[in-house]
Amino acid sequence: MSFANVVRRRLILLVFVVFGVSLVTFAISHMIPGDPARMMAGERASNEVVAHMRAVLGLDKPLAVQYLAYLRHLAQGDLGISILTQRPVLDDLVLFFPATIELAVAALLFAILLGVPLGVLSAIAKDRAVDQVTRTLSVTGISTPAFWLGLLLIYLFYGRLGIFPGSGRIDGPPPLHLTGFYTLDAALTGNWPALASALAHLFLPALTLGFVHLGIVTRQIRSAMLEVLQEDYVRTAKASGLSRAQIVLDHALRNALIPSVTMIGLAFGDLLYGAVLTETVFAWPGMGNYVVQSIAALDFPAIMGFTVVASTAYVLVNLAVDLTYMFLDPQIRAVG
């Protein structure tokens, strides 16, 4: 099957996924007791004001009618008004989503760029000192709570050494808004002081969030490499006199990467959801905080908006994973 076919099929599937997710989220968030109208009117508001607010929000209509109205607005790209911030949900998402994606991408890059070489090294030096150290590191990574590591890093690099900032995304004014990713926007507009500041702010949170996944990537690559290195074609390559580096990097690694791609794709989903603690510790203004705050306040337009956008992102990441698969493995490309 061609790339185009896969993409087309997935995009059609996306519509159904979003529909399903919105239905379930809508049902759950409207069935939980708690009165958003009172939240908006103020806790001490009289019942009359709350009733007025309920009518304004359309909460006095039957659930099915409310859901259809939501879908109609959704189709027009209108996610409604947040009860908590009283701003359009879309504006809030546009504001906070890029921060989370930027952090997740940086964390993933860190995990891959360090994790793949470490995994390879660990596999070819199986049971030797390098392998022991790497495995210890990856177990530590997997079992270290992010908030604890984050606080430790802040204490050390900001508090003691003073070489990294302690919180936020940037010092001074942010770069011109193009994509919402500060590093990218700063680079695209040639705003070098902003780029330096954005990168400095990104470093510790990305390290914190990436550390857990570093452990996962390292272990995954290591075990995949160990398996691949037993294969016949590796022995053939050895017999035909290829250098060790050529065998490991060109023959073994490429095949070991295939199963790892799925895992890394799923890890990206995890990163999106798992960023909450890291975001809190570093005052990183991302989705995590926004969602937790929305759930606590039962701010259902915001909860719905996030769910719809996040599930879309998840489907797209999976699509990207599959396309990468096809790119890496000609067999899959042929079969589809």
Partner: protein, 522 residues
Amino acid sequence: MAALANWISALGAASAALFVSAAMAPPAGATDRDTLVIGKSGDPDNLDPAVTVTNNSWTATYPAYERLVRFKVVDGKGSTNVEGELAKSWEASPDGKTYTFTLVDGHKFADGSPVDAAAVKFSFERVLKIKKGPYSIFEQIGAIDVVDPHTVRFTLKEPFAPFLSALVDDAGSIVDPNVMKHETNGDMGQAYLADHTMGSGAFEVTHWEKGQQIAMAPNPHYAGAKPAFKSVVIKIVKEASARRLQLEKGDLDIAEDIPIDQLKALKGEKGIKIVDEPSFQVTYLYLNNTHKPLDQVKVRQALSYAIDYKGIIDGILLGQAEQMRGAIPDGMWGHDPSVMQYSYDPQKAKALLAEAGVKNVKLGYLYAKTDPTWEPLGLVVQQALGAVGIKVDLQEFAYPTMRSKLNEGDFDIAVGNWTPDYADPSMFMNFWFDSKLKGLPGDRAFYSNPKVDELIRKATATVDQGERTKLYQEAQRIAVAEAPYILLYQRNYQFAMRDNVKGYVYNPMLLQIWNIASMSKE
């Protein structure tokens, strides 16, 4: 596949280089003398005075607007008496239904347009038309008339004695009528004012990076003395230890919402001072007066005697609170130092329960994790009531669910905090005990006593403060004796700041609000 290996190593080298260069960029050091940096734990929700009801937003809005009246500062201390701000003088009619204000000259909004009677009328009508959270504070207003550009008259639906105190609330902020130029879909400028300010206060919000910081700069047309700060930055730092660390490093001048144990550690540290003042924030337990056996006065009294108040204050709040005496807190006018206060007396509690003839009682304690003290408090209550033979189940819910259970009276015992919107005893007496306000609006114990209703309603309709004090004291004696609530404690308000910050005036009615116009740094 050498390409892949090359690609990986090239990318690795590039990103390493970027991170190293980033690491060499100097982090922000101590802040400038003409900049004040305030570290907060949460981002404001909305900056529109007709919409927001959270003190967290008022940090930014309060200094950006002026109001008809303000709290007097007496000997460097904030009081709960009012004096004119935009109003030069005022006159109340003998029946307490009309208030006529004469405005001062020369006050201007940040865009240079004058603050006049029309702007005052516009601002209050805006709150009433938008009908969101702040509406209830001014719902007694019947009509507002512009007598002349300097005179404005309010006619109330009924006499409402706390009216002047209510004008100090953030919702009483006078908004530039030019906001209507930003109106979309008939929202009276709500979308615009959600993240802008248009007032005549000393500062205006110049920029808000949501979730990160709010930047404020002096309003060039401000009529008062020129502020010392050229810039005020409100930084959002969610994690308490990170806030503390930034204060210690000098990146923050003020850090609010520091947990009690961390404040203790900060105390005595060089360059840092702790502000620690009694506040009007009280914590109390609602006893559902309609549930058996809590409908019996003796049972409710027994519960009030079963609680170890001092133990709670010392154990949970590390001593940073004071046991309540009556419903009107200490420091608020109308507080009665002679009203009966329950003390820890388990024997008396047992005796009262025996007199009431109840046994094998099981009660639920409703709480949420919104306030970190509510759970430990529940454990203490469980233990204390267990000691007098009442079994308590802790029932935790998400706050929105807890809120709706409170409103419907679906609980036995529930915990809550209360802070007054305006400096008037009615915020406690009328809200807590008026049987018309059952549920969340105020009477959360579902208490009902016609005599108390009569006294407190009369008190809000009376203008004379001495007369009102008497009425409230009489009502309070009855209500305290009938123990619809367990009155726990009045918390201290605390935050930490650098010791070179001068001129802060604490006012228990203005928590999380700093008088940035008259503060400075050495």
